[in-house]
Symmetry: C2
Subunit: 324 residues, 2 copies
């Protein structure tokens, strides 16, 4: 199969229909696919329907067609039967390695030849998850972000035995769903996005644990500051702009010493010449010839519009007074 | 002085007119204040005017009046003269403790009785910065975020000798400028927001240093996922929603074990019963009686509009192809 056949997939199986699995089902349906869902929970079917119904309005406002989704969704308690006709299987069971390994083996044994098998794991190693499968070459991680039907990011991670062609097909498939597939170069626990979030999260836990801030204050320190930027640009490009004319290089010179301060409970790598060069080159690539003024104007233009928008969601708009 | 007198301040001094100081000047001018600026750099005055001119359009699109700002801005190379008539002095010199201490002593010696003296430091301890001042009770940290004329967050941090009344007046003053003052409960290096950003930043450095991702990939892992949420809600409320009906408590039970994994190079605190209770109570306070469905609808409503907006800024809109 090639990329074209990956985007030609018409039927997918969603195994596990909790928050993540239901989100996948809604996204698949919104893109015209047929979905066969499976979950052992007694109320799974009703909960899945309620979740998808709740996702219809935002999806339709994004221009996607949810009309008739009920007719394209079926529920099949038996996993083997559920995956039998699928071009792609999306496993979203609880985050326990033994459980996922067992489930993936059953999926692999029953799925058609050529079907892709994705796990929604948020941190487990694909080499371990695929180890017991007969066709490990088609097994990989496709880690989405909540709400799955709206957020575009999906991390694709292959294990030692995943075929390169599998990841290429997966990229084409998820891109076809309007997503931003990020292929992770090295197989590490937590991949990329959750490692970043986990670092911030651990520091957030320390701040609350140490009595420095309440949870509300920690959240406010993000939402009214860096969070407004993070919808548009990550830390690297942000720092590149903050460095002024000299960009990231100046930033690393000026704030490099702060990395030695005990500001977090996490060690930082030494800022070797090699690392500095790699970071600077990365930022220049991202800037793509646009100078910092151009990038700053683009940032400001975005922030003005984002601010006008996000203000409507601030606490006082909901009658919550006495907040930060 | 009381809150009313703090909001009645009409003239401020901006000492140091780099990226941060110039941002402050633009924000002050946009709110009708008179600004006296001072900076020893030979081209400081011209750069300041250029920076403010660049901030006019976004500020006016936010409904602020920049007309005639040139007449309300003056430049005074001598620091003592610059602060002589100020109701508030905003120091934004380079982040070096000895330099800031010396500067704050000179400002304190020359500023009118009753004037507030704020340092824009992003991490230094106010107790140390105010130590040499004759009137340390009026000296505090007011740490803004770039771009200062747009982002609402400002962290207010008092030192051992800062008067409670000073922080109350500062809160009123910055709130009057349309900002979100976050008073930091304990004096720690890096305060709150930069500790959170520093944790993410250190992990981002590790990922690039270890060859797991390029800077572009690290940024994409934020901007297409968690970053879209962070403009609206922080990690705590995000996890509260991800926990489903049972909220944060379920989340901590399910993902607590992950804190023991070596996902980042930072240690995490033990999830004691006390910490769990504190976090759960904090989230319930933030939820303010709204159930998770209500909060999720509000989140989705926001994300739909944010996505329509932020898409216009994605790489392909600028002709950048082959990006994530």
């Amino acid at each position: 199969m090639n990329d074209d056949s990956a985007t030609a997939i018409r039927r997918v199986a969603v195994i596990g229909t909790g928050v993540i699995g239901a989100g996948w089902a809604a996204r698949f349906l919104a893109n015209g696919l047929e979905v066969v869902a499976s979950d052992p929970a007694p109320d799974a079917r009703a909960n899945l329907h309620a979740s998808i119904a709740g996702a219809c309005e935002p999806l339709e406002r994004l221009g996607l067609a949810m009309a008739g989704w009920e007719r394209r969704l079926s529920f099949e308690p038996d996993v083997s039967a559920a995956v039998a006709g699928a071009g792609l299987v999306q496993e979203s069971a609880p985050e326990r390695e033994a459980l996922k390994r067992d489930l993936l083996e059953r999926i692999d044994a029953a799925a058609p030849a050529g079907a892709l098998i994705a796990s929604s794991s948020s941190g487990l190693l694909p080499s371990r998850l695929q180890a017991g499968c007969r066709h490990p070459e088609r097994v990989f991680i496709a880690h989405p972000f909540n709400p799955v039907y709206l957020l575009p990011l999906v991390e694709l991670v292959g294990g030692e035995r995943t075929a390169a062609d599998t990841l290429a097909r997966a990229q084409a498939f998820y891109r076809h769903l309007g997503m931003r597939p990020l292929v992770v170069r090295k197989e590490i626990e937590g991949y990329i996005a959750d490692r970043l979030m986990e670092a911030l999260w651990r520091e957030a836990l320390h701040l609350v644990n140490d009595g420095v801030a309440t949870t509300e204050e920690v959240d406010a320190a993000v939402t009214y500051g860096a969070g407004l930027r993070w919808a548009l640009m990550g830390t690297y490009l942000t720092f590149h702009l903050a460095g002024g004319e000299a960009g990231m290089r100046h930033m690393l010179e000026q704030f490099g010493p702060a990395l030695k301060l005990p500001w977090t409970h996490m060690d930082a790598p030494a800022l070797s010449e090699e690392l500095i060069e790699r970071i600077v080159a990365g930022c220049e690539h991202q800037a793509a010839g646009r100078d910092v003024h151009t990038l700053a104007r683009r940032r400001d233009d975005f922030l003005v519009r984002l601010l006008s928008l996000v203000r409507e969601y601030w606490p006082e708009q909901e009658g919550l007074t006495g907040r930060i």
